[in-house]
């Protein structure tokens, strides 16, 4: 399925959308397609909104942001996010804030069909004061109080991965973040991959399968679809672009021009990549291949 068709069919105005991937495997391709199709009133949830949600906020797709760390890693701020939250922007943005552990636990609960997840957290912090969804429960054995967060069950989760077969049996290596939890917790799942492989490739190493096809609604082939994020073993992170975003996002006009040039102004990912000359030469991964293991009996 094409990314255009997958987004048209599975991402709707007003949805709660999770595009996960902790630094690694963030589906910028899907985020850009959502911007192109002009989705509105989305509740965007992610541990680290990163550049992709800053772009979607800047493009006016978001009504609300659910998150735990909203910065440009190692660089600075997400300025579209800051303008909206600091009331300096054209649009406002409702926020619901947790810590990383809280967001991880929310997705873990959603994936397990539990209504909440207990954690030793938040005591002494001001987060529960500003987020009434952070509550507590009493242990039926020790009587101690534990913090709780509510399950997060996205309408749609979009996962970028190294490879999957046609049925959506998906393999990921390197940082896995909360990709598995986000997929199992969602009502609909889109998997975007660097390589579409034969089922036999998946079956030759079943311990590498993170997400089974039976929870996947659409599989999309989109090489370099995570750029400027990265895919271990395929291409490096485009750190130069993350640095450049500081200046682009600081100015709404520049941000809008960026969206016109690289998102709204291109029909698809191929056209986006054509506008990045020398990308492959600059970021293609070197070879550090692992050895196989024996699954025989």
């Amino acid at each position: 399925m094409s990314l255009r068709d997958a987004v048209a069919r599975f991402v709707h105005d007003g949805d709660t959308v999770v595009i996960e991937g902790f630094t690694h495997l963030i589906s910028f391709a899907a985020g850009h397609e959502i911007i192109r199709q002009g989705r509105r009133d989305l509740t965007l949830a992610r541990l680290t909104p990163d550049l992709i949600y800053d772009q979607m906020i800047g493009a006016g797709c978001a009504r609300k942001l659910v998150f735990s760390w909203a910065g440009n890693p190692g660089v600075g701020s997400l300025h579209a996010f800051r303008r909206a939250v600091e009331g300096r922007g054209a649009t406002t943005l409702e926020i619901e804030e947790y810590s990383h552990f809280g967001m991880v636990a929310r997705l873990a609960a959603g994936a397990a069909r539990l209504p909440f997840w207990p954690l030793r957290d938040y005591a002494g912090t001001d987060l529960p004061r500003v987020n009434p969804r952070i509550r507590s429960v009493t242990c039926p054995y020790t009587g101690e109080t534990l913090a709780t967060v509510p399950a997060l069950n996205p309408d749609v989760t979009i996962v970028h991965a190294q490879r999957a077969d046609a049925e959506g049996n998906t393999q990921i290596w390197g940082l896995v973040g909360v990709q598995r939890e986000a997929a199992f917790a969602a009502r609909r799942v889109i998997v975007v991959v660097e390589e579409l492989v034969d089922e036999t490739v998946i079956r030759s190493d079943p311990n590498r399968t993170l997400i089974p096809g039976l929870v996947v609604d659409a599989v999309v082939l989109e090489p370099w679809g995570a750029h400027p994020s990265y895919a271990q073993g395929y291409y490096d992170r485009d750190n130069a672009f993350y640095v450049a975003w500081e200046e682009i996002s600081r100015d709404p006009v520049k941000l809008d021009r960026y969206l016109d040039d690289f998102v709204r102004g291109v029909p698809d990912r191929t056209a986006y990549l054509d506008k990045h000359h020398g990308l492959t030469a600059r970021l293609k991964a070197k070879e550090r291949r692992s050895a196989g293991v024996n699954y025989g009996f």
């Binding site: 902790f22 939250v85 810590s99 957290d121 001001d126 390197g174 973040g177």
Partner: protein, 253 residues
């Protein structure tokens, strides 16, 4: 700052590392006196041996050649909450008299003057790491008597002790600034002056904090960075000077 923080790490300890100066400090320790230091990044890389200076805590260089990669649910439940982390590093826009750290907001939460990134894993580090080391540039605005927002709990939170709140780790016990080292006083929970860097006057430090700064009866001596430490920092870890001379270097958490 990186050098002094590095010296705080004992060989074999499990250290929860953020990017910036904490990453420099941890890798400096590993390259000098603590070769068996186990570096864990909240992204899930355990026993990382980065071939290059990681730009983010999710840098691919943290994965290649690491001992283990696990999901973030494991990082927070099996490592941090389980109490397996000996040392955590934190930075912050505000650190107050009692070691409370703010990385969330300057001004009010609903109507912020400056919106900061938020907790990330910082709250969990300050709660669960057996001890937390803080790195920040000394500055009166950065060291108020009370932070605008408690993202990561210190030694006294609205008058309550960590024990009363059931916090398992020791919390922020030491702050490395560019002029001096502050430590929390066990009795009062206050940040007090523990050591001055060479050539720094007490008054400069007092001027950099927003409360009457108490001091240890005897201030510890601070050795400047040695030749080996400087060589490793400048030639091996940060040849491009991305962080050296950089100010504060708050970890992304």
């Amino acid at each position: 700052m990186a050098t002094l923080a590095a010296r705080e790490l004992a060989d074999g300890e499990v250290v929860f590392v953020g990017i910036g100066l904490p990453n420099l400090a941890a890798n400096l320790a590993r390259a000098t006196h603590a070769p068996h230091l186990v570096l864990i990044y909240e992204s899930g890389a355990v026993g990382a041996v980065p071939e290059r200076l990681p730009v983010s805590i999710g840098d691919p260089a943290l994965v290649t050649g690491s001992l283990m990669v696990c999901g973030m649910a494991d990082v927070f439940q099996l490592f941090l909450q389980q109490g397996r982390i000996a040392v955590g590093f934190l930075g912050g826009a505000q650190i107050d008299r009692y070691g409370n750290i703010n990385t969330t907001v300057i001004g009010s939460y609903t109507n912020p003057k400056v919106r900061l990134p938020g907790s990330g894993g910082a709250a969990e580090i300050a709660i669960h790491a057996r001890r937390t080391l803080v790195m920040a540039k000394l500055d009166r605005r950065a060291f108020p008597e009370h932070v605008d927002f408690v993202t990561s709990p210190g030694q006294r939170i609205a008058g309550r002790t960590r024990r009363e709140l059931g916090l398992s780790g020791a919390g922020p016990v030491k702050v490395f600034t560019d002029k001096a080292i502050l430590e929390t006083d066990e009795a009062t929970g206050e940040m007090v002056l523990a050591a001055l860097y060479p050539g720094v006057a007490v008054e400069e430090v007092e001027a950099g904090v927003g409360w009457p700064l108490a001091r240890r009866p005897r201030l510890a001596a601070v050795d400047p960075p040695g030749a080996l430490e400087l060589r490793v920092l400048r030639e091996v870890l940060d040849p491009e000077g991305l962080y050296l001379g950089a100010k504060g270097g708050a970890p992304s958490t």
